[in-house]
Each structure stands twice: as structure tokens, then as C-alpha cells.
């Protein structure tokens, strides 16, 4: 991103933040937020007990996509590095899990997550280093190269023995731990839910820490940040690695839940999907990533219901409407509405400061 672009995002984020800061005391805002999060967690815990198996599957996929988008968010939203290559991290994570579970080690599914995360972290760092030299669309092309390379590599007969080539790998569904009165779908949901909570909390913690502030400073004013002593190279590379780790873990979960991996599922169109989900959810917003996951899973279905032949066109129209109505994504929209409501409340409550008697 160029300086004007970064400035635009930063100014926008600052403006919205300042609106809410002025509207209410900070402590009240935090409490309301905690209430909302608590309510969401409770809803999330209860959901699989009341809905059908198929919907549980869909909700699990929503969480997985949300986690993948959060990974992209860390890199693009919080650190300003544009990536079109996250489908590759998702795919690497998925294949790591698939290979470990079915071919070589017959590993239990829960161990594949840290392995996938570690592999992707390393790949992310390896990519982050050369990416330091690139900006904006040039970085986009480099990451795009990765997205294109992955399916070809997976299919090539160099790696065929390990990856199963074009036929892909079929994975067995994990069973719930013995003794629990839930079925396999519900168990996978709770497993994913737990992972989601941990990863989202970690991301929130990271963003609020001084590392997070450094990362965002690099996005907003890279030269000033460097002048202030922030090691931009180190933070940018690390962010690449962490971002890849998040999306890689999401990929591993995806493989386990779908029970199948094939090379052409992880092409650059998936990257575009993640990007769209990120923007619609709200750049730089952690809960927005989850909304992005909802969008990526459900909107194509909605578009198809409207018209099977023109589902792509309907999808495009929905996307345009969303961007017109919510240019800063869902999170921005929520923030703006909250600020506007608070302003209304204040205007209704306050008396005029003074009355002119003249």
C-alpha cells in the first residue's frame, strides 16, 4: 500500500475510534463489549445442541474461514502488507494435516494443528523476508505467485508420492472422545470452537500489546516508525509468519472437517475469497473476520437461491451493495452505528449550554 492509502485507513480508524471514545467513557464501552462477547460465546456453545448436523457442519466451516481470514487480517489489515497468497498457507496447512493423518505418521488429528501451524510459520517467515523489498501491487504479485504455485506443486509428480497428486487424500472423520454424549459433528464443532476462542483471544492480546502497536505503526507510518527505533524488518517478517500460522491452522481444521484435500481446491480463487471476506468483515477488526467467514460461506448459497444460472452475477450485485452501504466493512458499520446512536442519546440528554437572551 502507498502512503496515501495507509493514511486513509489510519485516519478512518482513528476517526471512528475517537468518535466512540468521546461518546462514552471507556470503561462503559469495555463492559458492553465484554457482555457481547460473553453472549456470543454462550450462543456458540449452545448452538450445536439445537441445530441439525448439517448446520453444525456449516457453522464449523464458518469458524474455520473466519480463522483463515483473521490470519490475512493480521498481515493486511493490521500490518498493511497486501497478500493474495493466503490460499497457499491454507492449502499447506490442510495438506500437512492430511499427510500426517493418513500417510506417514497416522497422527491424531489434534497434533496436526500445531504441526500445520509450525510449517506455515516457517514458510511465512521465508516469504516475509523477500517481501520486505516489495510494496503494494508488487507484493501482491509475489504472493499471487505463491498461490498459483501451490496447486501445481501439489500435482507435480515430484511430490505425488506424498500428496496423492490430483486424486487428493481422503481423511477419516475423528470420533468424539469416548464417554461424551455428542456425535462426531458436534465434537468437531466444539473442537474448532475451542481453537477459535484461543486463537482469537491471542490475536486480540497481540494487537493490544506493544508489539501490536508497533505492527500498526508500521502500517500507518513506516518511516516514522523506523525513525522511532522500531525494527520494521523484524516485525514485518514476524507478522508474515504469524499470519501464515493462523491461516495454516485454519487449513488443517478445514481438512479434518471436510475429510478430503485436493490440489485444485487451493487455488488463487480461494485467496480472492479470503480477501473479499476480510474487506466485507472490516479491515483491522478481529470480530469482523468472523463476519467475513459468514459471508464467504453463506452468500454464494444465497446467490444461488436467487438464480442458478446467474449466481455469479447475483453474488457480484450483493457484494456491490455491501460495499456501497458499508465501505469500511461490517465492523466499521457497527462502529459507526454505535457512535451515531450514542450521539443521538447524548443530544437527547444534554441541555443547551446556555441560552441566548438577546
Amino acid at each position: 500500500m502507498t502512503v496515501p492509502e495507509r493514511e486513509a485507513i489510519a485516519l478512518e480508524a482513528a476517526a471512528v475510534r475517537s468518535e466512540t471514545a468521546v461518546a462514552e467513557p471507556l470503561s462503559l464501552w469495555l463492559d458492553r463489549r465484554r457482555l457481547l462477547i460473553g453472549a456470543a460465546v454462550i450462543a456458540g456453545l449452545v448452538a450445536p445442541l439445537v441445530v441439525a448436523n448439517f448446520t453444525i457442519f456449516q457453522l464449523t466451516m464458518v469458524m474455520i474461514y473466519g480463522l483463515a481470514i483473521l490470519g490475512l487480517n493480521l498481515l493486511t489489515g493490521f500490518n498493511g502488507q497486501f497478500s493474495l497468497g493466503h490460499s497457499a498457507f491454507y492449502g499447506i496447512g490442510a495438506y500437512t494435516a492430511a499427510i500426517l493423518m493418513s500417510r506417514s505418521a497416522d497422527l491424531a488429528y489434534y497434533w496436526t494443528l500445531p504441526c500445520a501451524g509450525a510449517v506455515c510459520f516457517i514458510v511465512g517467515i521465508a516469504l516475509g523476508l523477500p517481501a520486505l523489498r516489495l510494496q503494494g501491487l508488487y507484493l501482491a504479485l509475489a504472493t499471487f505467485a505463491l498461490a498459483v504455485a501451490l496447486p501445481q506443486l501439489l500435482k507435480s509428480h515430484l511430490l505425488e508420492g506424498m500428496t496423492g497428486g490430483v486424486q487428493g487424500i481422503v481423511i477419516d472423520k475423528p470420533d468424539p472422545p469416548p464417554g461424551l454424549p455428542i456425535n462426531a459433528d458436534q465434537w468437531l464443532y466444539y473442537f474448532t470452537f475451542a481453537v477459535l476462542l484461543i486463537m482469537f483471544a491471542a490475536a486480540a492480546g497481540l494487537v493490544r500489546s506493544h508489539t501490536g502497536r508497533a505492527i500498526m505503526a508500521i502500517r500507518d507510518h513506516p518511516i516514522a516508525a523506523a525513525a522511532m527505533g522500531i525494527n520494521t524488518a523484524r516485525y514485518k517478517t514476524l507478522t508474515f509468519g504469524v499470519s501464515a500460522l493462523y491461516t495454516g491452522i485454519a487449513g488443517a481444521l478445514g481438512a479434518i472437517v471436510v475429510q478430503f484435500v485436493a490440489p485444485d481446491s487451493f487455488n488463487f480463487l480461494l485467496s480472492i475469497n479470503f480477501l473479499v471476506g476480510l474487506i466485507v468483515g472490516g479491515i483491522g477488526s478481529i470480530p469482523g473476520s468472523l463476519f467475513g467467514g459468514v459471508f464467504v460461506l453463506f452468500v454464494p448459497n444465497i446467490a444461488e437461491k436467487v438464480s442458478t444460472g446467474l449466481s455469479g452475477a447475483v453474488y457480484g450485485v450483493i457484494l456491490l451493495l455491501l460495499i456501497f452501504l458499508m465501505p469500511s466493512g461490517a465492523a466499521g458499520f457497527v462502529r459507526r452505528t454505535a457512535a451515531w446512536l450514542a450521539r443521538l442519546k447524548r443530544a437527547a440528554n444534554t441541555e443547551p449550554i446556555g441560552r441566548s437572551t438577546r
Binding site: 509428480h157 476480510l278 466485507v280 446467474l310 452475477a313 453474488y315 465501505p327
Partner: protein, 292 residues
């Protein structure tokens, strides 16, 4: 050695396809500072329009001229109607608008004109050029037209007032407004130009690859790669980049043993990324230096 020559020439021929697309990509990038994902689909749509006119019996050149004119208008209209409202949104939101446009066009093309491939006529004929088995007259014609377009654009931007105004609007919108340039319309003009160039590109490419709704997807990617390689701020660089991508890809596919065939595109992109490492703004691009 002969195979090398053959592959280079074949690479030039396919590279001409990428070069025309790269030119359109750079055109709109100069105007709005971002990549238009829907470029390829707009070109495909324009080519379908031309095909439809030819089906109705109109002459090739009439269809060609009218299509270019309509495409220009469509480009301006898309900018004024779709992108003006989101001009102040974060850049990434505008990106989503491009993706939406892509989706709408691609889907509509398939629905209106179905997926059977269609031949598209060429004014250059398809005999082998000079009797050699390397390149056809049409492909040679494509190269010539691309270069001609490039020269015309160069003259327009350097030599005419309107071109100067457009460059000013893109370089420094605030200052341009202050001297009375209507920046909004300059951007719309940039859009119109790029859509028109895209239409020409589509009509040149279709005879080679056959017309179908998914015709331009791969071409846009290669065109984008070529534009980045050459430098997004340099139309000449973009054209050269397009040719280079075609040649690199062919050579990679032929001469890298064992995996060349399967990983052609990957290798080409790796080469481009390697070049970008050395010249981060493309070979001919100018690195933007910003004041702190």
C-alpha cells in the same frame, strides 16, 4: 538451437497477447492507482458484443469500430456510476468492487452467450508469416497493433493537452484541481481508454484462443505479471514485460527438464519475483519517493 528460436518466436506470439492486456492494465492503474480485476472480463464482454454484431451480418470493421466506441462509453459509465461512490472508501474496498464487477460480467457472459467456443475473425488472415512455420500473419499483426497503440498513447500523453491533464490528475489530484482540471472526469477518461484498449486486446486475442466466457482469466493474470515486471508506471515497460512473460514461460516449459512442463507458470512467476527483488518497482518502473 532451432527449438530455442521456435520457442522464442512462439513466446513472442503469446507474449503479444499478454502485452496488449498489460497495456490496458497499466492504463487504468495510472488513472486510479489500483489494479482492475475486471479488466479481462470487460474485454471479453466487448469481444462478445463484436461477435454478436458480426453474427448479425455487420462487417468486421464496422463491428470493431462500434465495439471500441461502446467499450469506451461503458468504461466511463462504470467509473461514474460504480466507482465514484466508493472513491473515498479504503482502497481495499474498491478492490472488492472490481471483484464484484468481474463476477457479474463473467456470469452474464456465460448466461447470454453460452460456453461453446466461438471463432472470431481476424483482418490479418491466418497464413504462416513469410511461409515459415513459426508465426502466423495474425500474430504478427497483433504485435504490430500493440506497438502502434503504444506509440499513439505515448503521443497522446506527452503531446496533447488532454493527455497532460490526465497525467496531472493522476500524479497530484489536489494540485490538478487547483489549476482547474476536472479530476473526476480525467479518471473516467482513463477508465474509458483502458476499456477501449481492452476491447481491442480482446478482439485481437480471440482469433488465437477462441472466444468463450473464460477466455481472459489466464490472459489477465499473465498480463498483470507482465505489467508488474515491466513496471506499473511505464506503459512501454508493461508491453515489454508482456512479451518477456511469454518468452520466459515458453522457455521454462521447454528447457527446464523434468518439471518444466508441469510448473511452467510457477517458474515464470518465480523469475518475475526474482527480478522484482533486484528492481522492486519493475524493470522500467519508477520507485515512488515520498517525503516524510
Amino acid at each position: 538451437m532451432e527449438q530455442l528460436l521456435q520457442q522464442v518466436v512462439a513466446g513472442l506470439a503469446t507474449g503479444a497477447i499478454y502485452a496488449t492486456m498489460a497495456l490496458a492494465v497499466v492504463m487504468v492503474y495510472q488513472a486510479i492507482d489500483h489494479l482492475n480485476f475486471a479488466q479481462g472480463e470487460l474485454a471479453t464482454f466487448s469481444t462478445f458484443l463484436a461477435w454478436q454484431m458480426i453474427e448479425w451480418g455487420w462487417s468486421y470493421w464496422a463491428a470493431f469500430a462500434i465495439t471500441v466506441a461502446i467499450s469506451f462509453v461503458i468504461g466511463v459509465a462504470i467509473d461514474r456510476i460504480l466507482f465514484r461512490p466508493v472513491r473515498n472508501a479504503p482502497i481495499l474496498s474498491q478492490l472488492v468492487a472490481f471483484i464484484a464487477l468481474f463476477s457479474i460480467l463473467n456470469s452474464s457472459d456465460g448466461e447470454i452467450w453460452n460456453f461453446t467456443i466461438k471463432s472470431f475473425p481476424t483482418p490479418f488472415g491466418t497464413k504462416p508469416l513469410f511461409g515459415s512455420g513459426l508465426i502466423s500473419t495474425h500474430q504478427a499483426g497483433m504485435v504490430v497493433v500493440t506497438l502502434v497503440m503504444l506509440v499513439l498513447l505515448y503521443l497522446f500523453f506527452r503531446g496533447s493537452r488532454l493527455g497532460l491533464a490526465m497525467r496531472a490528475a493522476a500524479a497530484n489530484p489536489e494540485a490538478a484541481r487547483l489549476v482547474g482540471i476536472r479530476v473526476g472526469w480525467m479518471i473516467a477518461l482513463g477508465w474509458g481508454l483502458s476499456t477501449a484498449i481492452g476491447a481491442v486486446a480482446g478482439m485481437l486475442i480471440a482469433p488465437v484462443v477462441f472466444l468463450d466466457p473464460n477466455m481472459m482469466l489466464g490472459v489477465l493474470l499473465y498480463g498483470f505479471a507482465g505489467a508488474v515486471l515491466g513496471g506499473l508506471s511505464s506503459p512501454g515497460g508493461a508491453v515489454l514485460g508482456g512479451f518477456a512473460v511469454g518468452i520466459i514461460e515458453n522457455l521454462a516449459g521447454t528447457f527446464i527438464p523434468f518439471v518444466g512442463q508441469e510448473l511452467k507458470l510457477t517458474v515464470a512467476l518465480i523469475v518475475i519475483v526474482a527480478v522484482l527483488m533486484v528492481r522492486p518497482a519493475g524493470i522500467f518502473g519508477r520507485v515512488a519517493v515520498s517525503r516524510v
